[in-house]
């Protein structure tokens, strides 16, 4: 095959005006979109999974992240070795009488007892001392307070006295419980000194008046991740598939131009993204009380910029790597860091290295633009981020088109 034979049909058809060529171009774009639509509509599994994907994604991830706000209870293990302090006919136990009632008196947001106390025996059946740390590990607990002998006596007669807190460092429950314990002990110290807190921090969530739930903050990120995964992996799989089936070579002998083909593939992804968006949005409304106010026209140009970016990235991946496994590996390398570093699910702005990398990733700007237009309604931010996303989109599309070859692989 000579280079002339493989030349793409870029030249306009002689004798036809610019508008005529444009009409023909649009016809070819519509034909390819129609072909894609028929292909998916004729496959029930494709329809099922295309619809199911955003639903599962929003439901599971929304439940995981917003579920962390739901009421829960904590278990506090206590090894109490305190003998108490005899005052007249009574024995005072500082932990049992003062600290434990405060701890067990705390309620969670559902009105249930927040902290349950589990007792750690001081000795086993053979009379051997029990190591509280080992006992905690055996019981799968996460935090244990060890109250020393003469705790009350020392607290009242010869302070300070030390309480040992043993915790499982990688447990979030342990961290929460530790903070509560430290606060209770702080207040107890304050009370014994006869003082009341002088300084106080009053915190206010800047959107508190608008009653925005945590799930609502997450939904724009989840929507962006859904259409990114779709556009990126589907582009990779389709382009590899086309190459294996020699579809590109066949297109060379058709009037279809590369630009028409790329635009039609991108527009098809955009149509799929709009469908996925509405499915995600309605799932958000039904499952997480997402407000209807979140629906705004700016979402669609932002999505188009996103689709351009990820379709372009998919084309670049298949342009660099020709085999299915290689293209998947590149797709994974592109998508997973973006999912975790773009602020879709958690904030990484406090980690200096990652926050710089995050600013280089297109998904960051798409999520920021969606969040600003859907949730915070800060449209200047939405425009700015949409502009950056569009710039990414144009650059990646151009590189993708340049790297996509229709000639047969050597």
């Amino acid at each position: 095959m000579t280079s002339k034979d493989t030349k793409e049909p870029n030249d306009e058809i002689e004798g036809i005006s610019f508008w005529g060529n444009l009409t023909l171009s649009l016809q070819r774009i519509v034909i390819n979109i129609d072909a894609n639509a028929r292909k998916i509509l004729r496959s029930p599994s494709a329809i099922f999974f295309t619809v199911l994907y955003p639903v599962v994604f929003i439901l599971i991830l929304g439940s995981i992240f917003s579920g962390m706000e739901e009421p829960f209870t904590l278990e506090l293990y206590v090894q109490n070795n305190d003998d108490g302090l005899v005052v007249g006919s009574e024995t005072i136990h500082a932990w049992n009488d003062s600290l434990e009632p405060v701890i067990t008196g705390l309620n969670n947001s559902a009105g249930e007892q927040f902290i349950q106390i589990r007792s750690v025996p001081a000795e086993d059946k053979k009379g051997q001392a029990i190591d509280a740390g080992k006992y905690l590990e055996q019981e799968d607990g996460y935090l244990c307070v060890v109250i020393p002998q003469n705790f009350t006596l020392k607290a009242y007669t010869n302070p300070p006295v030390n309480l040992t807190i043993i915790l499982v460092e990688d447990s979030q429950f342990a961290q929460i419980l530790n903070q509560i314990l430290l606060k209770v002990i702080y207040n107890y110290n304050l009370e014994l000194s006869g003082d009341t807190e002088k300084l106080e921090v009053i915190s206010q969530d800047i959107f508190s008046g608008r009653e925005i739930s945590y799930a609502e903050y997450l939904i724009p990120g989840m929507i962006a991740v859904t259409f990114m995964n779709n556009a990126l992996f589907v582009t990779i799989s389709r382009y590899i598939d086309y190459r294996i089936a020699n579809f590109f070579t066949k297109l060379l002998s058709s009037p279809m131009k590369k630009s028409d083909f790329v635009i039609s593939e991108m527009l098809w992804q955009f149509i799929l993204a709009i469908i996925a968006f509405f499915i995600s949005f309605f799932t958000g409304v039904l499952a997480f009380n997402l407000s209807w106010n979140a629906l705004h026209w700016m979402i669609f140009p932002i999505m188009l910029a996103g689709i351009m970016t990820f379709t372009g990235l998919g084309m670049i991946a298949t342009g660099i790597v020709k085999t299915p496994n290689g293209a998947t590996a590149v797709g994974n390398i592109l998508s997973f860091p973006m999912i975790f570093l773009s602020g879709a699910f958690f904030d990484i702005s406090g980690i200096p290295v990652l926050s710089i990398i995050s600013k280089c990733l297109p998904l960051t700007y798409i999520i920021d633009a969606l969040r600003a237009s859907m949730i915070s309604k800060n449209f200047s931010t939405a425009w700015l981020n949409m502009g950056v996303s569009l710039a990414f989109g144009i650059v990646f599309m151009v590189i993708g088109i340049l790297l996509t070859k229709w000639t047969e692989e050597k």
């Binding site: 080992k134 590990e137 990688d170 915190s203 945590y214 598939d241 790597v321 299915p324 590149v330 994974n332």
Partner: protein, 388 residues
Amino acid sequence: MPPKILEDTYYSLRRLWAEYQSIAISRFRNRIVLFFMLFYPALFIIIFGFVFGGAAQQEFQLYYFNADLQANGQPTASSELLLSHIETNLTQINLKEVEINLTRTSPVEWMQNQEVRALLTIPNGWEENITNPSPTIQAQVFYYYDPAYTSTITVLELLEKTVQEMNSELLDVTQIIQTNTITTPSRQDLSMIDFYVPGVTMITISTSGLISFVNYLNSEKRSGQLYKKSSSPLRKWEWSLAKIFWDVTFGLITSFVTIITATLLFGFKISMLHPLMLPLIFFGCMTFSGIGLIFGRLITNPDAVNAASMIFSFPQMFLAGALFPLEMMPNFIQILAKFFPLYYITEGMRDLMLPSTYHQVWPNLGITIAMGVGFFVLGVLISDWKKE
């Protein structure tokens, strides 16, 4: 003359080995692909090391507006003391002073317009409230935050701690009870990253294994390779087993790359590894390859296969408990997690990290072996070599 069964086994093993070699050679011949496949686990552990492993010191930007001024316009001594406390004790917080015209805008409006996530305001008369002898009046500072950024909650916790310390100093509170915090015995020499590496390794293997297997199967079908193989002496189970052996080999390479990266960059302790992790990796790879075979058979449309593999692999990544503790999740999510194979594999890996939890590994290892064998057999039984 050897019995027929031995002869069959010999030829079967030869075909299996030949298929395995052809997969391995095709992977190793393409250096770009090899680079990306090896770079992927390294990148994964680098990201998770920084995000979850506490490998980097966090830094937060806190804007402040000090309205507590003296008659000459200079900040009061108390407000300066609070700010110096923050600067000295909270090195991870970068303070930045701002001016807000409270007659024209509120702090909330100002933050929304300026895209500021965390703002501390010290109100006018704050020092007066501190020095006021009335026990009912508290001196309050106000912290405004954007809840979309979880780092703002960390800043709030740090601020509260500093204010508590300042309270104790101002009131001269006697610390009657003090605390000494230690970690559990088995974890004493371990860091956060040590707990993440085994789980992250399995996540990497499962996601890349499943998605790449589905794509490989798809391309073999499309190119007609599978159809051609149906006319060769190669049997379906030999082909499947060869691919699974390759996945196990690559799973081990992936684990090696992850562990080496974690050791070099974050000081991961090799002593955390246990020989029983090998069968977990082996049968884990077998499980995901088997699931890939089933997906490839049941779903023929390439777009749908991608969506289906992502529906499966993505949620299980979050539900395995390797990145986010399941204990914090709603009950139904904790139940749902148990339907995903990765849950048992990562639980098994975690059990093997501490001597105190070794005894818990057996049920998880047993389930992993059963899943590996079960999904493989089912995948082989239902896979089809007919032309699409």
